[in-house]
Symmetry: C2
Subunit: 245 residues, 2 copies
């Protein structure tokens, strides 16, 4: 049973930053190599789900961890407010359309989990529907895993409420970040405890497990994500295919 | 009037490799900065068309030139043999679906031009249809340019027939490249002169101009593409937007 409030958003005190950064560089390079094999082999697909509060660093993680991946086989899917067309469908419709084909890594910047988090926080859906949706998500992810060899990574970017304030303030003060400012982020922040409760529920009810990533130090975020991905992918039977004459 | 046979596929003799590589690094870094502004400003979209014979280095150019671009705002679209669904539509249908929205860079790895090159070489379409298709492509590209502020870069990766043989042979001899081998590439090579004639026609009949990129030396390919993109983008009124309260 995961309790978010028991998990620190800080890097562990006994991990040295410069050593971690060196290791991260190695993992990031290796991830690029493993992606080349994935692309050539076309046996597996990879889905990376990045969830977290505003300012938790989803964009930064994407830029840093996948630095050595080839753009041909990497696609980011950013789930925003549903369009009218999407809203007229079940909540998984637009998600399923964006599942990764074999040989590809897809990064979901936000995901199906918004539909059981933000919607639940604001009571746009009732608790019965939340329960059914979580079951549907589990069934959907299992389908991808068994029927398309999709390796699913789920990262919950865990930021402290204090650090979020720092991050959101940067968007008010730094010219390069103005465009990321959204007044609604500050309003959502008022529902912090309710967000954490909904995240906690998701973490505990998922059949495919989550990695909770402490992100108050950005170098530790990148380290945890890159390490988790490489360690998992190294367990697979990845290999360049033989020559097809 | 462009004559392909008059253009060398080699780097110019008076350009020093190490100096060019240093400049390329600067252009690649700057392209990453310009992309950040494009994303923030959401005024322009960018379309990069990479066309060239097999082995001309479309994948390598993509990996190297866009190294500092953020994956959130970069998407590669690889046009392969049309699917049954695509084939039941006009040839621009699948292309239009993949036009870049504002704030995004889309790279077309092959493009609408295949439909007036490979199809013309094999006489799958007659000359009247070729003529109409080239006019349709011109109208389509002009539409993107005036109606969605799409900045269109068209790079014809110009490889010599000798160098192509070297590249295709690598796919038969290097384990990491086996998956790129395709017996049909060798068969297409037999139509070299006819391909060049069709490319030349496209280069001369396009309303939005092409850059012919000599690619026998890969470092020169990256230099030309990165330089052309940065120089053009620097002429635009790119600027981070003000804070929206």
């Amino acid at each position: 049973m995961i309790k978010i409030n028991d998990i620190s958003a800080d890097a562990p005190a006994d991990l040295e930053k410069s050593a971690a950064k060196d290791l991260t560089k190695e993992y990031v390079d290796r991830l690029g190599e493993l992606q080349s094999i994935l692309t050539a082999q076309k046996k597996y697909s990879v889905l990376v789900i990045l969830q977290g509060m505003d300012g938790s660093g989803k964009d930064g993680a994407t830029a840093n961890v996948f630095k050595e991946c080839h753009p041909n086989s990497l696609q980011v899917v950013s789930f925003k407010k549903p369009t009218e067309e999407e809203f007229a469908q079940d909540f998984l419709w637009r998600v399923h359309k964006n599942a990764p084909p074999k040989g590809m890594i897809h990064i979901f910047n936000r995901s199906q989990y918004e539909d059981v988090i933000i919607q639940r926080v604001h009571k746009w859906i009732d608790e019965d529907r939340v329960k059914k949706r979580i079951a549907s998500i589990n069934a959907f992810e299992e389908l991808l895993a068994y029927d398309n060899n999709t390796i699913i990574f789920k990262f919950m970017l865990h930021i402290s409420k204090e650090q979020q304030e720092v991050e959101l303030n940067q968007r008010l003060n730094e010219k390069e970040k103005f465009w990321k400012h959204n007044a609604s982020d500050w309003r959502e922040r008022e529902h912090w405890d309710e967000y954490m409760r909904c995240y906690e529920d998701v973490l505990n009810q998922s059949s495919i497990p989550w990695t909770v990533v402490p992100v108050d130090q950005r170098w530790y975020r990148d380290y945890v994500i890159a390490k988790a991905m490489v360690e998992k992918l190294e367990t697979l039977d990845l290999a360049y295919p033989p020559l097809q004459k």
